[in-house]
């Protein structure tokens, strides 16, 4: 196939190529619960990591969050080995997660050996020792709100296929959505939001910016507050956002 596919080719649907965010939510929801899974967004992200490992495929996967000051936390991983890999980059102070977070773009390293000399003199040899030959990191972000990164590990060299690349982006988008969602939605099992289309209206992002300034909180937190208010009041997020932008509604600072 010579044609580069973004989004979709009109008139032709390929079930796997066209897997969008909605399908990724279903894949994660179908991923069996384990007794060790936590009952919060962390547990949901553990399942996301396991679903992603099978779908992409990959040998390991992890999601790490970074605080505003760059302080990292490993949030979830597909296996204990992947937790070790996630932590390694923070111990060494360099790696794909930090780079994806800093540059706000995917960091694609199909051959870790090549990166040893230039990119990551400490991290690259360390992961090679653990059998990782390729790493790919995707930032978890929504506009200017940055949360962390999703890291993909493979035991063989080589680029992600176009399809895997799109899937990886979709998994990162779902991880971001989950983290920005009100935490109470993850009590027990995660659910896909009812109407993602509405959530993606520009007015929602405008309201997010207004709430950030009104409550003097960070941008990601502003989205969490906005959504929590909408869920608590049983209203669509976009409708609440319209009220905020029209200045008919101001969220309470302690809501």
């Amino acid at each position: 196939m010579d044609c580069l596919l973004i989004g979709g080719v009109s008139g032709k649907r390929d079930t796997l190529s066209d897997r969008g965010h909605g399908d990724i939510w279903s894949l994660v929801a179908e991923e069996p619960l384990r007794s060790s899974d936590r009952e919060d967004v962390g547990g949901w992200l553990e399942r996301l990591c396991r679903a992603a490992v099978r779908t992409l495929p990959a040998s390991g996967l992890g999601v790490s969050l970074m605080s505003a000051t760059g302080e990292p936390t490993v949030m979830a991983a597909s296996s204990p080995d992947s937790v070790v890999l996630e932590e390694l980059q923070f111990t060494l102070g360099e790696g794909p997660c930090q780079d994806a977070f800093a540059t706000r773009r995917p960091v694609l390293t199909p051959d870790v050996r090549e990166a040893a000399a230039t990119q990551w003199p400490g991290y690259a040899p360390a992961v090679l020792e653990l059998g990782v030959e390729a790493v790919f990191a995707f930032p978890l972000q929504l506009g200017s709100a940055r949360l962390g990164a999703l890291d993909i590990y493979r035991e063989h060299t080589g680029s992600l296929s176009d399809e895997s690349f799109r899937h990886a982006q979709a998994f990162a988008a779902v991880a971001t959505e989950s983290l920005l969602d009100a935490q109470e939605r993850f009590a027990g099992r995660g659910e896909a939001p009812g109407d993602l289309a509405l959530d993606r209206s520009f007015v929602v992002y405008q309201a997010q910016g207004m709430v950030q300034v009104q409550l003097a909180i960070d941008l990601a937190e502003a989205m969490v507050r906005l959504r929590a208010y909408a869920y608590a009041n049983g209203r669509p997020v976009a409708e609440v956002a319209e009220d905020i932008v029209a200045r008919r509604l101001v969220l309470e600072s302690d809501s």
């Binding site: 044609c3 965010h21 929504l142 709100a145 680029s159 982006q169 405008q206 910016g209």
Partner: protein
């Protein structure tokens, strides 16, 4: 009708995507501005399909919220949706008589003062990646020569976006597009923040953002990011304007 030399100049610019500091949002913004100026239409917008195949407005010659909504509603229905799905241009659609075809889009467009709408596919061979959308306040037919010129502009822009990047790395456009969509979101977040800081509308906030970027020779996306993530880097922009007594 457009002159040959104007068209040639714009086409060359549209093809010039291999510069080192290429920025997709700015490229598309220039394209929509050219399209609206050259073809005697009142507004132009550019929509690209995201990873889910949903059309997202990325740039517009007119950034008013009302206008952005007209582009955004087309992720569900409208001339761009038809154009994207069918792969063919939708031209000279009479908005006053389009209520059956586009029950949500048409009345909105009429209420915004438009009478005619056109959508041209951004297409390379079998692949459609988005649409160029033109609005006119006057009913009537577009000059056939202008239609060809608009499609040529759309084609050259598509080749510029797809082909060269495909040679360098196949996944780079997907990535570029994702970065552009994310910049668009960052711009909307910054509009909201600035509207709150300056107690103005989001449309006025966009003007503040754009004027600041232009007068400081900065990219719109970069300034938008700084407004919400690194406000200390743009102090003049995020300091509330004192109210007149």
């Amino acid at each position: 009708m457009i002159t040959v030399d104007r068209l040639a100049a714009v086409l060359v610019e549209a093809a010039d995507t291999l510069v080192d500091d290429f920025d997709l949002i700015e490229f598309l913004q220039r394209l929509t501005t050219h399209a609206s100026e050259l073809f005697d239409v009142d507004a132009a917008g550019l929509l690209l399909a995201d990873a889910d195949g949903r059309l997202q407005p990325l740039a517009a010659s007119d950034e008013r919220a009302e206008m952005l909504e007209l582009f955004q509603v087309q992720s569900a229905e409208g001339p761009c949706q038809d154009c994207y799905r069918g792969g063919a241009a939708v031209v000279n659609a009479d908005l006053l008589n389009a209520g059956d075809r586009w029950p949500r889009f048409a009345p909105k467009a009429v209420a915004s003062g438009y009478r005619a709408v056109h959508a041209f596919p951004l297409r390379l061979r079998q692949e459609v990646i988005g649409a160029l959308n033109l609005f006119s306040a006057q009913p009537g037919q577009m000059d056939p020569a202008d239609m060809q010129a608009v499609q040529a502009l759309a084609d050259v822009a598509t080749i510029g976006l797809l082909q060269e990047r495909a040679i360098r790395r196949r996944d780079i456009l997907t990535e570029q597009l994702q970065v552009a969509l994310n910049s668009r979101i960052a711009i909307e977040q910054a509009k909201g923040a600035l509207a709150q800081i300056h107690d103005c509308t989001v449309d006025q906030a966009f003007d503040l953002l754009r004027n600041y970027a232009r007068s400081n020779h900065l990219r719109l996306g970069q300034v938008a990011y700084q407004v919400t993530a690194e406000p200390d880097k743009v102090p003049e922009l995020v300091t509330p304007t004192p109210r007149a007594p």
